[in-house]
């Protein structure tokens, strides 16, 4: 057995902080998920919270919406991030400025973005529909029509998050050795062939990172949705996190804790195999 290079006391402060702030709450939450908890007292009720949570009418819709939201946002970030990154690694003027401009929305507060777009997307006074009307197009009720609300929020999420995906892709693209591109050109490869057979496969590690990060972000997304629609109209843009939050707001503390345990298990169940699978693909290339 190799002796640790540090004495035991060296670990203590970190262990105490980790224990009180992470370990204890985690295990406490597994316990409280099994109780009817009013903050004043708790009563052990077994798995009833999980039964109630899965019987929650908004939950099925919330689960579907969460998946749609995660897939749409992470898909669009890949589809838009890569071409923007290719554009921003080419020799265009003001490249540095353009790179900052695409990253800027990432730095702005999510709530601020949400409130701004809520005003822009107002069906009759909003700037977006005013602009569309000038073009002779009748814009939809972005956030108040049940069939558009979730996708409208997802689009704003993509606008806000695509900068991060672009930066990850830029890092991936500049690390591809120039020799490959030159060799391809010598062999007579056109632009499309270069993209398809050189850039796309060699930026796979960046794609993996973008997908994993934005999928996790999409699955636990809450702040933007809450700022823009509060899960509405009605329950039509509810996601798991907003369903859980509403239980907490209503004072169903045990139930909302059970919901968080479910969310934890769900994110793990989706992301862990996905990251293994994507990781294997990287090695094969």
């Amino acid at each position: 057995m190799t002796r640790s290079p540090y004495p035991h006391w060296f670990y203590l402060p970190a262990a105490v902080v980790y224990g009180t702030l992470f370990l204890v709450p985690t295990f406490a939450s597994f316990y409280f998920a099994l109780t009817r908890w009013t903050l004043f007292d708790q009563e052990f009720i077994g798995v009833e919270n999980f039964v109630t949570f899965f019987g929650e009418p908004a939950l099925v819709q919330g689960l579907t919406n969460t998946l749609i939201y995660a897939v749409v946002t992470s898909g669009l970030k890949v589809v838009l991030g890569l071409p923007i990154a290719i554009l921003l690694t080419s020799n265009i003027i003001a490249r540095g400025f353009l790179r900052s401009a695409v990253f800027f929305p990432v730095l702005v507060s999510t709530i601020g973005v949400g409130l701004t777009f809520t005003i822009l997307m107002h069906p009759s006074n909003g700037l977006i529909n005013d602009a569309l009307a000038a073009l002779g197009v009748q814009g939809p009720a972005w956030l108040t029509d049940p069939s558009y609300a979730l996708l409208s929020v997802a689009l704003v999420d993509v606008w806000k998050g695509v900068g991060l995906a672009t930066v990850i892709y830029i890092a991936g693209l500049v690390s591809i050795p120039r020799e490959y591109l030159e060799a391809a050109r010598v062999d007579g490869a056109g632009r499309w062939a270069t993209f398809r057979h050189i850039l796309l496969p060699l930026s796979m590690p960046a794609t993996t990172t973008v997908i994993i990060l934005s999928l996790i972000g999409g699955l636990r997304s809450f702040d933007l949705i809450w700022a823009m629609t509060r899960g509405g109209p009605g329950f039509t843009s509810d996601v798991i996190a907003s369903v859980i939050y509403k239980q907490y707001q209503a004072g169903f503390y045990g139930l909302s804790t059970a919901g968080n345990v479910v969310l934890f298990v769900l994110v793990t169940a989706i992301v862990l195999p996905l990251s293994r699978w994507l990781g294997r693909k990287e090695v094969e290339l």
Partner: protein
């Protein structure tokens, strides 16, 4: 003690201190001049902060030995959680403002609050108010503010122009709506961006429910009836759907907030707006010229003879069990002032009254806004007013406002919405540990 062990001890102590240091210092204490400082927690709405500060100032002017500090908290669910957390950790202000009725029961008042049965103000309370701040035979609160009416605000100028009379039944109301629509005015204003405003057709219909089924509240609490199974209670959800399906709503109902709705009503773009009368203060600020164009009538029901108003009772000021000694004495004296004619006058001066007070001897000024004046006949007639369901039953589901938005926007049918609300209510009843659920 060797150096390593001493460091371990220091690290452990330091960490423990850092963790416990999060609790704030002792609130409410006597200062060097012998004055007693008491804290008063209220929600951050104008309707609460302005009267609270007015009352505190007036009280301090008469009691130089007492200092009252008004603290604010968020409104809605966020604020509920602040109150519950502070109560359960023994960290509550010396007194606090909170809803009466069903929300109070969720605070477990018998465990967390001091009973005030022996205070002199109790004898001055209106008998409809006392049960809403009580649990069993213990009374826990003094009324803060005035009663609020839940009904339909209507534009009197539009009514005059088209030649309509105030409807007493739902049939008359829908006939009026048809004429209003034909005249090019939106018959009913709804503002679903503020989701709470969507509940009024259901909640303010309770006078009509109670008129048809006088024992509804008790049976509802005991899980013997429900919104989906009682035909009278289901009417509220039906009305919501009926108005949407008839195309009587304002164009942007899904995207408007309640201030937009008041504006539409005041300027005659909309004719009816079901809402609570505490919005009249906002109306006075935003549309001072049109206040007297806006009147009020009760949500019409099936029978003109049973016409009456559903009333929201004022919130209460409560004292947590953690308040003691000199602070407790000062708090009790303050509550006696709040629930007195002098206290009512101070509140009237600080914020436009939303309706009659529930304290004997309190009087309203003569120059009330039209909509508030329209409330008074319902209070003067026997049997023409009923407290809203949340004041006579602890059972109230948290998701009603989302459900009524769905029914009112045509996303869900009335029957389906009522059934969904019944399931929502069951969660709350179980959380409260009520028998029969």
């Amino acid at each position: 003690m060797n150096p390593t062990r001493r460091t371990v001890l220091a690290a452990a102590l330091g960490t423990a201190l850092a963790i416990t240091a999060c609790s704030p210092g002792d609130l409410g204490s006597s200062d060097s001049e012998g004055r007693t400082t008491i804290t008063f927690l209220v929600d951050n709405s104008d309707a609460s902060v302005r009267p609270a500060e007015g009352l505190a100032e007036a009280f301090m002017a008469d009691h130089p030995d007492v200092v009252i500090e008004v603290e604010v908290r968020p409104q809605g669910g966020e604020g509920d959680n602040v109150v519950k957390t502070r109560l359960s950790t023994g960290d509550m202000a010396d007194m606090f403002l909170y809803n009466s009725g069903s929300l109070l029961q969720a605070l477990k008042p018998r465990e967390t609050l001091l009973p005030l049965n022996d205070e002199p103000f109790v004898d001055r309370l209106d008998e409809t108010f006392t049960p809403t701040v009580s649990s069993g035979d213990r009374i826990f609160g003094a009324p803060f503010g005035a009663a609020v009416g839940g009904g339909v605000l209507y534009n009197r100028a539009v009514y005059d122009r088209i030649g309509l009379a105030v409807p007493k039944t739902w049939t008359e109301f829908m006939a009026n709506n048809a004429k209003i629509k034909a005249a090019g005015v939106a018959p009913v204003v709804q503002t679903y961006q503020d989701t709470w405003t969507s509940q009024l057709w259901v909640l303010a219909d309770f006078h009509n429910v109670a008129a048809a089924e006088p024992d509804f509240a008790d049976r509802y609490t005991a899980n013997q009836t429900s919104y989906a199974t009682s035909p009278a209670a289901l009417q509220g959800f039906r009305h919501l759907q009926e108005i949407h399906d008839a195309g009587y709503l304002n164009a942007d109902f899904a995207a408007q907030k309640y201030e937009d709705g008041l504006e539409e009503l005041a300027t005659g773009k909309g004719a009816h707006y079901p809402i609570l009368t505490f919005v009249i203060g906002t109306l006075e600020t935003n549309n001072p010229g049109e206040v007297d164009d806006v009147g009020l009538f009760a949500v019409p029901g099936a029978d003109a003879a049973e016409n009456g108003l559903t009333v929201w009772l004022p919130g209460g000021v409560y004292v947590p069990t953690t308040t003691e000694g000199a602070e407790l004495a000062a708090v009790k004296e303050f509550l006696d002032f709040v629930a007195s004619p002098a206290g009512c006058d101070v509140q009237t001066k600080a914020y436009a009254p939303t309706g009659p007070y529930v304290v004997d001897g309190c009087e309203l000024p003569a120059d009330l806004p039209r909509a508030i004046q329209d409330m008074l006949p319902y209070f003067d007639t026997d049997g023409a007013r009923t407290p809203a369901l949340e004041f006579v039953s602890p059972v109230k589901g948290p998701a009603l406002e989302q459900i009524t938005v769905e029914v009112g926007s045509g996303i869900r049918s009335a029957e389906d919405g009522a059934a969904l609300y019944d399931r929502d209510v069951a969660k709350q009843a179980k959380q409260l540990g009520l028998p029969g659920w």
